[in-house]
C-alpha cells in the first residue's frame, strides 16, 4: 500500500527541490482525497498567477504534438516546463486511456520536464476538478511554465479559462465555414488562435475567419489576438506561437483572469464539500434509497427527491 503524503516541512523541502516522487505522489493524493485537496490548498495558496498556458482544440488537432515542440523551445531558452495532459474518462466505468504523453517522448529523460496524465474523472468541461490545484502545486514546485492540455473539445468545453492564465485554441483546416466562427462558446477560449497542420488545404480560408474574429475583438477590447500557423510535426511556426503566448501572458487579460480563476476554484471547493457531505450521503442514505425504490415502482416522481431532501434537513 502507498504511504500517505504528510504536508510537513520535509514535504515542502522535497517539493521545492522538485523531487519527482514526492510531486507525483502528491498529485495522486489530490485526486484521491477531497480533504487532502483542501489541506494542500491552504498550504500552497498564492494570489500570484502561475504562468499557465492552456492548449485546447478538437481531438486530433495536434495538441500533444504541438506541446512536444513548445517544450523544446522553452527548454532551449532555459525554462523548466510541467505539463498536465487531460484525457477523458468513461462515465460508465471510470476507466480511461491517457495517450498524450506518447507524443512528448523527445523530453522523456529531461529532468527539467515533468509530464502528468490526468483523467477527467467524469467532468465535462475539458479538464478535471483537480487540474487547477495541481497547476498551483507545480508552480509551488518552481516550474517556469505550466502547460495544461485539455481533452479534445467541441463547441462548449470552456473550463480551461478557469484554470489557465492564457490559452491557445488549436484549429485544423477543413472545419466548416465562417458561421462556425461567429458562434458563442469555444471561440471565446482562445487568447491566441493556432492553425495547426498548416501544410494541408484550406488554411487561408480558416485564417480569414479567425482574423475577422481577431480584428473584431481588437476593435472592442483594444487587444489583438494573434493568429499563428504551425506544423507540429516539422516545428514550423512554433517560435512565432511562443512569442504570441508570451505576449498574451504579459497582457492585462491574463491578470484579470486570475480573479475569475480564484472565484471558480472557491466555488469548486464548495461544490466538492456539498457533494461529499450532503449530496452523496443523502442519495446513498435511507431516504434517498427509499426514494429511488419508489421511483422505480412508479410510486414517486423525480421532483419528489427535492421534498425528501428538504424533509430530512428540516427534521434535523
Amino acid at each position: 500500500m502507498r504511504r500517505p503524503v504528510v504536508l510537513d516541512d520535509a514535504w515542502q523541502s522535497a517539493i521545492r527541490a522538485r523531487d519527482v516522487a514526492t510531486l507525483a505522489r502528491t498529485i495522486t493524493a489530490i485526486e484521491r482525497s477531497p480533504d487532502f485537496l483542501l489541506s494542500l490548498s491552504r498550504r500552497i495558496f498564492s494570489v500570484q498567477p502561475v504562468n499557465s498556458i492552456g492548449i485546447t482544440g478538437v481531438p486530433g488537432a495536434g495538441k500533444s504534438t504541438l506541446l512536444n515542440q513548445l517544450i523544446r523551445h522553452y527548454r532551449q531558452s532555459g525554462n523548466s516546463v510541467a505539463v498536465l495532459a487531460v484525457d477523458p474518462s468513461s462515465l460508465q466505468t471510470g476507466g480511461a486511456v491517457l495517450g498524450d504523453r506518447l507524443r512528448m517522448q523527445d523530453h522523456a529523460l529531461d529532468d527539467g520536464v515533468f509530464v502528468r496524465s490526468l483523467s477527467t474523472k467524469g467532468q465535462l468541461g475539458g479538464v478535471s476538478e483537480t487540474t487547477f490545484i495541481t497547476s498551483q502545486l507545480l508552480k509551488f514546485a518552481g516550474f517556469d511554465r505550466i502547460f495544461i492540455e485539455t481533452v479534445g473539445i467541441g463547441q462548449n468545453e470552456l473550463d480551461i479559462v478557469r484554470v489557465a492564465d492564457v490559452s491557445t485554441l488549436v484549429f485544423i483546416p477543413g472545419g466548416g465555414d465562417y458561421v462556425q466562427g461567429i458562434k458563442s462558446g469555444v471561440m471565446e477560449v482562445g487568447d491566441v488562435f493556432t492553425i495547426n497542420k498548416c501544410d494541408v488545404d484550406g488554411v487561408r480560408a480558416l485564417e480569414k475567419v479567425l482574423q475577422l474574429e481577431a480584428h473584431d475583438r481588437e476593435n472592442k477590447t483594444g487587444f489583438a489576438t494573434a493568429v499563428c500557423r504551425t506544423n507540429a510535426v516539422s516545428g514550423e511556426g512554433v517560435e512565432v506561437l511562443v512569442q504570441a503566448l508570451e505576449a498574451a501572458l504579459d497582457a492585462p487579460q491574463a491578470q484579470a483572469r486570475r480573479s475569475l480563476q480564484l472565484r471558480a476554484f472557491s466555488e469548486l471547493l464548495l461544490n466538492i464539500e456539498l457533494r461529499q457531505n450532503w449530496l452523496v450521503p443523502f442519495v446513498q442514505g435511507t431516504s434517498g434509497t427509499a426514494f429511488f425504490k419508489a421511483l422505480m415502482q412508479g410510486e414517486a416522481q423525480p421532483a419528489d427527491i427535492v421534498d425528501a431532501f428538504r424533509r430530512q434537513h428540516h427534521d434535523n
Binding site: 495522486t28 474518462s89 529523460l109
Partner: protein, 131 residues
C-alpha cells in the same frame, strides 16, 4: 466511485507488434483502469521515468521480439534505483515457458502469455495492487 488503478503500458525496443498492447489498453479501460499508453520504441529508462512521474500502481511491458530478458533486467534495476520496486511489474507477449521463472527472479511479478484471459489479468491486478 472507487479509485481507479493506474497502469503504464509500454513496449521497449524495436518491437512494433501493437495489437496485444492496444487490446489490453481498451479492455482494461472498460474494466475501470486508468491506462497511460506510452507507446512504442521506449527504453527501460524512459519507462521507469514515466512510471515515476505518473505515479502508477502497475507497469505493463509488452514484448514480442524476444528481447524480454535484456529489457526487463535493465527496467527492474532502474525501478529499484528510483524506489519504484513496490509497484507491480507485469510482462505480456511471446515469452517462452523457461523464461518465466528467470523473469520473476529479476523482479517481474507476473507474466501473461498468448491466450491469457482479460478478466484473469484484471482480477490479478486488482488483488496484487490492493494486497
Amino acid at each position: 466511485m472507487t479509485q481507479p488503478i493506474r497502469i503504464l503500458l509500454a513496449k521497449i525496443g524495436l518491437d512494433t507488434h501493437t495489437i496485444g498492447i492496444t487490446v489490453l489498453a481498451k479492455e482494461l479501460r472498460d474494466r475501470g483502469f486508468e491506462v497511460i499508453f506510452s507507446g512504442l520504441k521506449q527504453t527501460p529508462e524512459k519507462v521507469a521515468n514515466a512510471a515515476l512521474q505518473e505515479d502508477v500502481d502497475v507497469i505493463g511491458v509488452s514484448c514480442l521480439s524476444g528481447g524480454h530478458m535484456t529489457h526487463l533486467k535493465v527496467l527492474a534495476e532502474r525501478m529499484r534505483e528510483l524506489d519504484l520496486d513496490d509497484r507491480i511489474l507485469i510482462v505480456g507477449g511471446v515469452v517462452p515457458e523457461e523464461d518465466i521463472e528467470p523473469l520473476k527472479a529479476l523482479g517481474v511479478d507476473q507474466v501473461f502469455t498468448m491466450g491469457a484471459n482479460m478478466d484473469d489479468i484484471a482480477a490479478y491486478l486488482r488483488s496484487a495492487v490492493n494486497a
